[in-house]
Symmetry: C2
Subunit: 126 residues, 2 copies
């Protein structure tokens, strides 16, 4: 566990935000300017493989990282990309599972909306 790994894990695990690698890189560089982008990617990948954090693939956008590795759905703003965690709807999964022949090894549920901030702004941007 190197200094850079600790820094990167600290940034992801400290806040409920779901940041992109680039955002994490910027935050980390504020504390360790020599940090390389490649190191951020390498460590994020490693932390994901170890099950300490979770990677969220986002459509048409860079991946985001979630400090909560357990499976749960996400609420994604279509305009600004911000992501919120949701509680797992056990019943939904159980009932889907019941209809399937084999075991489910994992799932990814994203619900899209326009977040209050974006709706309020009235802007029509991305």
């Amino acid at each position: 566990m190197t200094r850079q790994r600790e820094l990167i894990y600290g940034i992801v695990s400290a806040a409920p935000e779901h940041r992109t690698a680039e955002e994490i890189y910027d935050l980390a560089r504020a504390q360790m300017p020599s940090l390389a982008r490649g190191t951020v990617y390498r460590n994020l990948g490693l932390l994901v493989r170890e099950g300490l954090i979770r990677k969220l693939e986002m459509p048409e956008a860079p991946a985001r990282y979630d400090r909560e590795p357990g499976p749960h759905p996400h609420l994604v703003c279509q305009r600004c990309g911000r992501v919120e965690d949701l509680a797992t709807p056990e019943a939904l999964l159980a009932s889907i599972q019941a209809d399937l022949p084999g075991p489910i090894t994992g799932y990814d549920l994203k619900l899209y909306h326009i977040c209050p901030a974006c709706r309020g702004s009235g802007k029509d941007g991305v």
Copy 2:
């Protein structure tokens, strides 16, 4: 609606497969060897924007295209990447929606498993 667009749409809409752009490109080239890769991407994007087909972003893999534009969950094999459609569990989505403050504009639900073919092969590949 050009010949190439018709060809591309035909390939996507004809079969229940969820093919990648590259697979569609190969199939299309079999019938029109001069077809450019860029044209495939351009037309797929256009068809998605028009709501005729649906794009499925796949984690760590090229996107796949679904002839069925309406929202429904997908069952994805973690080993070979093959995708199957599932029926929408309306009631359960409604119950999630009920817990949320604003309207859901769309969703993406992927369930992961190992498909029978991959399980049977016993191989430990990707």
